[in-house]
């Protein structure tokens, strides 16, 4: 077979691209995924609320609503197969006065039309029993039991790892800069920004050197480029939509507050967002946010004093005991918004080109359903789908000491002594886990943080950063001065004494 020739090329290694890659890897196809960053999930998929929404708060006729309900079901199955921790915690949409009740009932009706199961209105008595820290001002709530939480980046990494196991090739540091029609296929021009040698199981580099360009040819191209999907689409000559980032600032609280709430708590939604929430996360830390602010700069991930005070105010309205002093981390994410709904379609103008764009919230939840829809569109466009004899749907799960009981920890350490070498004291992460993360594809300090939680606790890497840098140096064989937080330009050590 020709080198760099594929049946399907996927542009973008976020939750959308990774889900499509894994779904396609069931079939006898040659598939490539191209990602411009040094690691997967460094786009929108790393900074969101991590909620697997039940499907509430969506217009009943919207595509995103339908895909969300379906995605909620599918996510459970996939998480189970891949060994990703999914917790069904349920959500409450709360109201503070009778004037708000009609809107709450409307949300319930709309969600029921979409097929969201198990919804019920709960009263003050129920709330006292099930959500004791809730503000006394709340009079009732809509309870949606199927809301869940998941680690969004771990989901991406594990989907990708499983896709690779089933034959998908992934190239990191590969930015698509040109798309041209050729007879029978599309040609992708790619700028290579990372010259790392092929290494590790999960992801490979094309072997091309940093700063160079290379070409990929594919019969079909799926654009899952998140915030940049409009620009990628324009490369192919389709420029009838624009992506406007909508920023959301989020603030994480100390793990000591893990049991602040039993559910995810929402106010009534506004026109552009679901409002400021009190969120549970799969790592245990509660989170408050996000804000919703239209901005112009797709690279602006800054947080603001204003965002902080808005979020604290909004969260305290529902859970009054929240204290700004419990904040241990914060970040901002940008929702890739193109109008009110997802844009998932074949482009007649460019045969073989599929857009999966405008994947705003609930894009994390919808991802597996989005993937099925993308595959369906590929089929309609003429892609022949023949199932493989062997699709390896399971994945050997990663070990996380912090998630296990002491009895299990004891066994692990006995089996492999380096589980007993604690690197990160706040989150209890061992040297073995850091090494495993690198072997599974981590290349940066952030990549290690997302996979293991080392550096993500209350001391923010004050204790473990040096140790992690040394392990990276050993495992990857790169000098200290080339170790980065999240890719080129984010080096952490600027000089080494001879």
């Amino acid at each position: 077979m020709m080198r760099n020739w594929y049946d399907v090329a996927i542009i973008g290694g976020g939750i959308t691209g990774a889900s499509i890659a894994r779904e396609l890897s069931r079939y006898r196809l040659k598939i490539v995924l191209l990602e411009k960053e040094v690691e997967l999930a460094f786009g929108v998929s790393k900074s969101n609320s991590g909620i697997i929404h039940p499907g509430t708060q969506n217009p009943p006729d919207s595509l995103k609503g339908k895909l969300c309900v379906r995605g909620n079901l599918l996510t459970r199955k996939i998480a189970g197969e891949l060994g990703v921790d999914f917790k069904e915690v349920g959500e409450l949409i709360v109201i503070f006065n009778e004037d708000e009740r009609p809107r709450l009932l409307q949300i319930k009706n709309e969600a029921e039309t979409l097929g969201v199961p198990g919804l019920k209105i709960v009263d003050r008595k129920w709330l006292d029993e099930h959500e004791p820290n809730l503000s006394r001002e709340v009079i009732a709530a809509l309870y949606a039991p199927t809301a869940g939480i998941i680690s969004p980046y771990r989901m991406v990494y594990d989907l990708a790892e499983n896709a690779v196991k089933n034959g998908v090739q992934i190239f990191l540091g590969h930015k698509v800069i040109g798309i041209t029609k050729e007879a029978g296929n599309l040609r992708l021009n790619v700028a290579v920004s990372s010259g790392e040698e092929p290494r590790g199981r999960a992801c490979r580099q094309a072997g091309s050197l940093a700063g160079s360009e290379c070409t990929f040819r594919s019969r079909f191209v799926v654009n899952a480029a998140g915030l940049f999907a409009d620009e990628v689409s324009a490369l192919a000559g389709v420029n009838d939509f624009k992506i406007r980032p909508r920023k959301g600032e989020e603030f994480l609280l100390d793990k000591k507050k893990e049991h602040l709430t039993n559910h995810i708590i929402f106010p009534l939604p506004t026109k552009t967002s679901k409002g400021i929430l009190v969120i549970k996360t799969s790592d245990g830390n509660p989170m408050i946010g996000p804000t919703a602010q239209e901005i112009d700069d797709k690279n602006d991930l800054s947080t603001s004093d204003d965002g902080l005070s808005k979020v604290i105010e909004g969260a305290r309205k529902m859970i009054p005991t929240i204290d700004g002093n419990d904040i241990i981390a914060y970040f901002a994410g940008l929702r890739p918004v193109a109008g009110d709904d997802f844009i998932i379609r074949r482009e007649e103008k460019v045969p073989g080109f599929i857009n999966v764009a405008g994947i705003q919230s609930p894009g994390l939840t919808a991802a597996p359903a989005v993937a099925l829809m993308a595959v369906e569109l590929l089929k309609k466009s003429g892609l022949r789908l023949a199932k493989k004899w062997l699709f390896k749907k399971h994945r050997h799960p990663s070990v996380h000491l912090f998630a296990d009981l002491f009895s299990k920890t004891r066994e692990l350490i006995k089996k492999n002594p380096s589980y007993g070498e604690i690197v990160c004291r706040c989150e209890m992460v061992s040297a073995k886990e850091v090494r495993d993360a690198i072997r599974r594809g981590a290349r940066t300090l952030d990549g290690i943080k997302f996979r293991t939680r080392a550096q993500a606790g209350r001391c923010h890497g004050g204790f473990c950063t040096i140790r992690i840098i040394k392990i990276m140096h050993e495992e990857l064989g790169i000098p200290y001065t080339e170790i980065t937080k999240r890719g080129n330009g984010s080096e952490v050590v600027r000089g080494v004494r001879e």
């Binding site: 004093d305 902080l308 007993g420 604690i422 004050g462 004494r497």
Partner: protein, 331 residues
């Protein structure tokens, strides 16, 4: 849960092998305790002193001007000579119960002991940029000052070339001098209060002698830079810490060092049900080294933040004595 088989019982367990833990263990021995286990998560004793290669330690206790490692070394020699004190390095305490069952992890093993008395000397951690809520981006180049100190002094790595330091506590001041001596440019120290929290000798020797500007009543209001720090916005504040917007100016730099205070490390005793003051993260206590749970003592920087190590040594010796008396009382 509290009555487990096969768990070894020890008279006294000391957690943390910094100056506090060593002084406490030695004094417990001197006061008659003959079965002491000292556990330390690092591969060597000495705690934070190992990275403090500057002089200024022991002026009171030894009447000499020692460096941190020299000060630590005197205790390491002494403690290593006492056979009744078992030292377990690379041992990380992970759980403590009110019944004084202590679990710790070391390479290849997870151990559990039941201590008749326990002294926690786990030191402190640094407050972070997140705890003081500085707005802006989150690029590489923002370090707690103690981490930068460890990088330079113990690893020989230079974390940055153009530095702005937030906070004028002693660690920040000492790091200003350290970076300058390593050839980096320290552009400013920004202090939100009207005076320095550090020792006067450090303000003089670490800033004034090198001509490093110190801005009182100023704060960093925003950090800029996508991948690595590019600049910071600085603004003057009034007496109630409100920003005076017209005074805003920028400093270009590639590094921001945070020296905004230390927090006692007391998460383990919190698990054991010891009452903790939420504001200071220290044990609620009427008397030095005591906690709300009998038989659990806390000393050194985990009891309260000390400016000088000499005070740590004096007070921690009292903790050793208290534990010895407590054990005598049990008999």
């Amino acid at each position: 849960m509290e009555n487990r088989n096969n768990v070894k019982e020890r008279e006294l367990v000391v957690v943390g092998g910094g100056p506090a833990g060593m002084a406490a263990a030695l004094s417990a021995y001197e006061n008659g305790v003959r079965d002491i286990l000292l556990i330390e998560r690092d591969q060597y004793l000495g705690g934070i002193l190992n990275q403090c290669i500057h002089p200024g330690f022991g002026l009171r206790y030894f009447r000499e001007n020692l460096t941190g490692p020299e000060y630590a070394d005197r205790f390491i020699k002494k403690i290593s000579a006492v056979p009744s004190i078992e030292i377990s390095l690379k041992s990380y305490a992970v759980n403590l119960t009110a019944g004084r069952y202590l679990a710790y992890i070391k390479p290849g093993k997870m151990e559990e002991v039941k201590a008749k008395a326990i002294i926690m000397a786990t030191g402190c951690r640094e407050r972070t940029r997140e705890m003081v809520h500085i707005a802006g981006t989150r690029p590489a180049g923002i370090y707690p000052a103690g981490l930068a100190q460890k990088m330079i002094n113990l690893e020989g790595w230079l974390p940055g070339r153009e530095v702005v330091i937030v906070g004028s506590g002693d660690i920040g001041l000492i790091m200003a001098r350290r970076f300058t001596l390593e050839g980096a440019k320290v552009k400013a120290v920004i202090e939100i209060q009207k005076t320095s929290r550090g020792l006067i000798r450090n303000v003089v020797q670490c800033l004034e002698d090198f001509g490093i500007p110190l801005y009182f009543s100023h704060k960093i209001s925003r950090i800029h830079g996508r991948d690595r720090v590019e600049k910071v916005e600085v603004v003057e504040v009034d007496d109630s810490f409100n920003e005076k917007p017209q005074t805003r100016f920028e400093i270009t730099c590639d590094t921001v060092l945070m020296s905004v205070g230390l927090i006692p490390e007391n998460e383990l005793i919190e698990l054991a049900g010891v009452a903790i003051d939420k504001k200071t993260n220290t044990p609620v206590s009427a008397e030095v080294n005591k906690t709300s749970v009998p038989g659990i003592f806390v000393c050194g920087n985990s009891f309260k933040i000390y400016d000088l190590v000499d005070g740590v040594t004096y007070d921690s010796a009292k903790a050793g004595k208290m534990a010895a008396e407590y054990l005598k009382g049990l008999k």
